[in-house]
Amino acid sequence: MSAVDLKTFITGYLAEVEEHLRMAERNLLEAERVEAAGGSSARQVRALFRSMHTIKGLSAMVGVEPVVDLAHEMEAALRVADRSGTPLGGAVDLLVRGLRAVEARVRALASGEAVPPAPADLIDALAALGLDRLGAEVGDLGLPEDVRSRLGPGETQELAHGLARGRRAVRVDFVPNPSRAASGLNITAVRERLGRLGDLVKVIPMSVPRSPEAPVGLSFAVLMLTGAADAEIAEAAGMPLDAVSSLVGAQPAAAPAALPPPAEDEEEVELRGEVVRVPVARLDDVLDRLSVLVVSRSRIARAVAELASRGVDVGALSHVVQESTRHLRDLRAAIMRARMVSLAELLERVPLIVRGLSRTVGKEIKLDLDAGRAELDKAVGERLFPAVVHLVRNAVDHAIEPADERERAGKPRAGHIRVACHERGQSQLELQVIDDGRGIDQAALARRAGRDEPRDPEELLALLTEVGLSTRDQATTTSGRGVGMDIVKRVAVDQLGGELMVATERGRGTAFTIRVPLSLTIVDAFCFHSGERTYVVPMSMVDEIVELEPDRVHRPPALAGALVGLLDRRGEAIPVVDLEAWFARRPAGGGGRKAILVRRRGRPLAFTVDRMLGKQEVVVRPLEDPLVRVPGVSGTTDLGDGRPTLVLDFLALGGQVRAAQGGP
C-alpha cells in the first residue's frame, strides 16, 4: 500500500475508531450505572464487545499493533462477560484504563508520532481478568525456545488454533544426508510428501552438531497440522518414529464449569444470526483447489478428444466430461457468490471519512451515498475502495469551495458530493463521484504542466493522471483537480481493467466515472500462440477475431515500431500491431495471419497472433510482486503444463500502443 493510500485510510480509521471509543465510553459508564442500580448490563456489555471487536479489526488493518493488543484483551474479557452474564463490577476501572490507553495510542498515530507499545502491566491485568479462555492462551506449544523463536505470531496462532480445533500439531525433524538423498529424500520431496498428509505451517532449517547421521550439520524442523498418525508421518519423511513429536496446546486456566462452552473458533468465524464471516484467504484456497479441478477437467476433455480422433467410441465418457464441466461451473459460481461483498458494505465507511475530512478542512459537506444493490468480488472491492476514497477526498479538499465563496457564486453554503453506483449489464459496475464545486480550471492545469490546453475530456484525463503531475504541488487548491489521480487511474484501468472518465464544467462541478468488472478471478478466455509462446486473453476484452487477408491490410509508408499496417474492415481502418514486435521479441512484420480485435473507448486495435488455440475457462492469478507487475499483463494462469501462462490485457496494451504513437 502506498503512503498516499495509507494516509487516506488512516484518516478514515481515526474517524471511525474515535466514534467507537466514544460509544464504548458511553456504554461502559452506562453499564456501571445499570449494575449499581441492581440491573443487568448485558446490553451495554454486548455493545462494548462489538466496539472493541471493531476497533481491533480496524487497527489490525492499519497495522497499529499496540491498539490491536489492547483491544484484543478487552474484547476477550468482554466476550466471556457477555456469554456468562457476569456483571463487570470491578472490571470497569480496568476497562476504562484500557480505553484511555487505546485513545492515547490513536492520538499518537493521528499526530504522526511513534505509537508507544501497549503497557505490559495493563495487558497483564486485562488478561488476568481471567476471562479469556480461548485462543489467547497459546502457551509454548511444548516447543523448545530455538524453534519457537523462529515462528511468527501468525504461525504460532495457526498451530494453536489447529490444536484448539482438535487437529494434531506435530513437529517432524528431517535430517538430510547422502543415503536419504540417494533414495530421493531431500527437503523439497519431504515437504511435498508431508504436504499431502496435512498443512505445513513452517519449515525451519536448524543447525545441529555434525554427525554421521547429519554430515552437513543441518536439520529441518517441519511444523504441521494433520490428522495423520505418527507412523504415517515418519514414513513420509523417511525418518524414524522418534523424529515425530506432538505439540501441546495450552491448558485452559481453571475455567468455571458453569461457563457455556465458547463457540468454535470465534476468532475467525463469527456467527451473526445466519451470517458466517470467513477470511478471504480461505475462499481463495477453495478457488485454488477448484482451479486444479478445472485444469484436470480440461486435460480429461483433451484426452477424450484424442481418443475420439482415433476412432474410439467416447459417447459415455464425453457425457461424463460434459456433466462435470457443468458441475464445475456451478461450483465456481457458488464460490464466486461467496466472495461477493455488497457495495453498500464496502462504502459504508465513506460517510465517516467525509465527516473527518470536512472537519479537517472546515467545509460543510452534504454527502449523498447511493450504493444501490450491487455486489462485487472482494478482490475488486479491495482495490476499488482506495480509488473511491481518493476521489471523495479530492472533492472535499479541492473541488468544493469555502462556504463564503459558494454563497457569492449563488450556491448553497454546504458543498454537495454524490457517490452513486449501479450495475451495467451482468458484469460491470459504474461508480460516480460527482461534486458541485468549482470545476477544473483546465487552462491553469495545462499551464502548470507546460502543455497545451486539453481539447476534450480524454486529453484532460490524460493530463490529470500523468504520473508526477497530479502529486507535484499538493498545496494548490485552485485548479480543483486534486492529487493522486494517477493512483485512481492505476487502480481502475491498469489493475482492474476498467475505465476512468471525467466531465467538468467551470463553476458547476466535476464528475468522475469509474467502470470496473464485478469480478475478475475466473474468466472465459481465448488461448493463442504468438512467437512460440502461449498467451491467454479474457474473452470479455475481445471484440472479434479477424483474418488478416493480405489484400485487406494496407501498409502506409509512415508505419513505425510495432505497427504493421491498417486493416480495412467494413470501411473502418484498424491499426494492426505485431504483438511480438511490441514485446520487442522480434522485428515487426513477422506476425501471423490472424488478429485479435479489441476496442478501447470505442476505437479498434488489432493484435497479430500466430495461431488460435481455442477457448478455455481459466483462473487468473494476479501478479503481486513489483518486479513483474507491468501494464498489459493482468496475471497468470496454469493451462495444465505446470508453467505460468501470461494473461494479457489488450486494453491496457492498446493504451500503451496509442501512447507510443503519440495519441491518447
Binding site: 500500500m1 502506498s2 493510500d5 523462529r150 527437503i187 523439497t188 515437504r191 511435498e192 504436504g195 532449517p205 543447525s207 552437513v216 550439520g217 543441518l218 485454488d288 486444479v292 509462446r533 511490441w582 514485446f583 520487442a584 521479441r585 492469478r621 501478479l623 503481486e624 510482486d625 513489483p626 518486479l627 513483474v628 507491468v630 501494464p631 498489459g632 499483463v633 497468470t636 496454469d638 505446470g642 508453467r643 505460468p644 501462462t645 501470461l646
Partner: protein
Amino acid sequence: MNTLYVLFSVAGTEYVLPAADVVQMESFSGATPVPGTAPFVAGLVQMRGKVVPVVDLRARFGLPAAEPTIDSRVVVVQVGERTVGLLVDSAREVIRLRLEDLESPPDIVAQDGAGFVSSVARAGQRLVMVIDPSKVVGEEQLDG
C-alpha cells in the same frame, strides 16, 4: 554465534545467502518471460502452485549471460512478504559462518555490487560474498 548460509555460484564467483531467508531450491527449466519487466527479471516460474518471479543474478550483477545448465538452480528467498527466486549457476552447499568471519566489503566491491554485497567472509580457503537478498530483489513495497 554460528549461522547457516546457502552457498551458490554466479559466473565463477561464490556467494552466500542467510539460510533463514531461503525457502527452497529448485532446478531451473526455463521461466515464462514477462514483457516490460526489468532486464534482470528472467520471468515467472510456478512452484508448488505459487507463481514466483525469478531474478537472473548474472544479469542483476551485470555479468555476461549464459545458457542454463543442469546445475542451474532457482534459490527461492523470502523477503518480507515477497517470495522471489534467484537464478544462479549452481547451489549445492550449506555452510556455517561465524559472525567474526564477516567483514565489511572492500569499497570497490561495495560500489560495484550496488549494495548487493553486505559483507565478505572467509570460509576456510575460500572468500565468499554475503548477499543481501532485499537489495537484490529491490525494496519496492507490495502494492506500491
